[in-house]
Amino acid sequence: MYLYDELDRTLIAERVGEFRDQIARRLAGELTEEEFKPLRLMNGVYLQLHAYMLRIAIPYGTLSSAQLRMLAHVARHYDRGFGHFTTRQNIQFHWIKLKELPDAMAELASVGLHGMQTSGNNVRNITTDQWAGVAPDEIEDPRIWAELIRQHVTLHPEFSFMPRKFKIAVGAAAQDRAALRIHDLALRLHRNGKGETGFEVMVGGGLGRTPYLAQTIKPFLRKRDVLSYIEAVLRTYNQFGRRDNIWKARIKILVHDLGAEAFAKEVEAEWQSIKDGALALDPAVIAEMAARFRYPDYAPLDESPPALADARRADRRFDAWMSNAVAKHKIPGYAIVTLSLKPEAGTPGDCTAVQMEAIADLADRYSFGEIRVGHEQNMVLPHVAKRDLPRVWRALDAIGVATPNVGLVSDIISCPGLDYCSLANARSIPVAQEISRRFRKPELARELGRLHINISGCINACGHHHVGHIGILGVEKNDQEFYQITLGGKADDDAKLGTLIGPAVPYAQVADAVETIVTAYLELRERPDELFVDTVKRTGIEPFKERLYAAH
């Protein structure tokens, strides 16, 4: 966990005080809506279909049990008893009242949580691998870098009014679990030929109306140069990014229009003028930041406790969950446990106050008080002793977060869609729910293997549909909901945008269409271990298209 200092606490508390005053002035009619709207957005407060929505940042997806308990408290006392975890390691409350917001925010601030920069044309919550600090394939903890960047860009005046929002992700493992290439800027920590660690810098990724994958503009950036180089990228974007057209304002359009090479040259020129200045990172500063991340006092434990093997033999449900939701930890005797927020026919990413409190209790008891949130809208207990897994599973199962579907067909990423969102054109959640019902049998899901379905209710693509193995995009035609389906997208280290299979299908036929596509995959795959996305890569979309449009 990162330990907040007095500076962090003061900054958040002062912001709550300011916002309390701004809300009071708005309610008294001293501020117009035009004046107030940018102020509320700066604090993560949107106006959605039914109510105000409060988006709270969970920096790099790490939560303490105290923070999760506070989120439960806010859900229960200021909202309708639940929260929604998003694809950007944020949580949203969908039923917040403006008049109660200052109190809710003051309570959140007491545990270091806030909504700053979860909206607006600034640097948004910096995301990373939800297994940061515990994954065996990691070079070092990426959160140290995410936090250094977070501190630098928080309330930075130069980067508070950019052409559009700016999303940064940091990864440091062999496997990309942070969807790096769909970000405006991504850093990937790796070792060069000399064995030194540094960052590959990628820019210009993003989904939405014009999707692009980020391109590498610097293969190896020394650690000392991280802040100065990011500053150079942001300055270049601030200077050349378009402000005349909201649909062309993201950095991806600039990088595409200029070309990555020309963009990189502009960045390089800016960077040369600042790289040896105040932003060059002293090793002592990096060490100080690293020291602020405290790691558990792990005990020497048996990597293969006999009782665990016995429990797996004794209970098939437990065994299935172990195979699906439990991953190897870097410390022997410990495991990384993913909590599925995708129960059959549930709302992807929703978590009730009761569940949050139970998870916080479990984290205290079994995971050194720490919880993670991933962009796939699931949660993680990052440090569970393997000997405790049977007990942890029973508790997770009792609160409905042990569905053994992590990474499988019913582990669907979905935005809130037209049920909540004022930008949406079509519903996402009921589509996800119907698909999850169709594939509810665990044996079938296991047979299908890794298969990511991502659903967005509008072109803004919060549900990451372009990088779903099966991507579903809701559109509206003559007041009716239709859904475009793409195949073959992926967000891992070999990221790819999906290909549109053909004409959109109506709401009532989406789950049938997915079933047809999945059935086609079972017929087309060469081996049982050929993943859906690999079959699509090998065959192209044609055989899927033939079957889909013959059937419908």
Partner: protein
């Protein structure tokens, strides 16, 4: 950003003026007497663009009560009652079409810690 009042208003059927209440964001409709109601049935119906424009102009001025006023289609059902004119307005009026998570969770779960 073009103000709603500067936009060309075209309507093809009955409409009401809707907005979100300032204090809590709840969906509200403009009544004929200039007050806001959370009951669509009590909303003032406009059948012409001129009438809709007048209602919207008055509603937009009253931003201390409600924000983001706009013209929304309605339809008159067989029973003579007013219904939302499209899915978006139906969801605004009736709430999400999906069960909300909290209603599925009991307040006391026996968690075997």
């Amino acid at each position: 950003m073009t103000s709603p009042l500067d936009q060309k208003i075209r309507i093809s059927g009955p409409v009401v003026i809707t907005a979100n209440r300032l204090v809590d964001g709840a969906v509200v409709y403009r009544r004929a007497d200039g007050a806001w109601t959370d009951n669509l049935e009590d909303g003032a119906i406009a059948m012409s663009a001129t009438c809709a424009r007048e209602l919207l102009a008055a509603a937009t001025k009253d931003e201390i009560s409600a924000v983001g006023a706009y013209i929304a289609p309605v339809r008159i059902a067989g029973d003579g009652k007013m219904r939302p004119g499209n899915l978006r307005e139906l969801i605004r009026a009736a709430g999400p079409t999906v069960e909300q998570a909290a209603t599925k969770a009991t307040e006391s779960v026996d968690v075997p810690l």
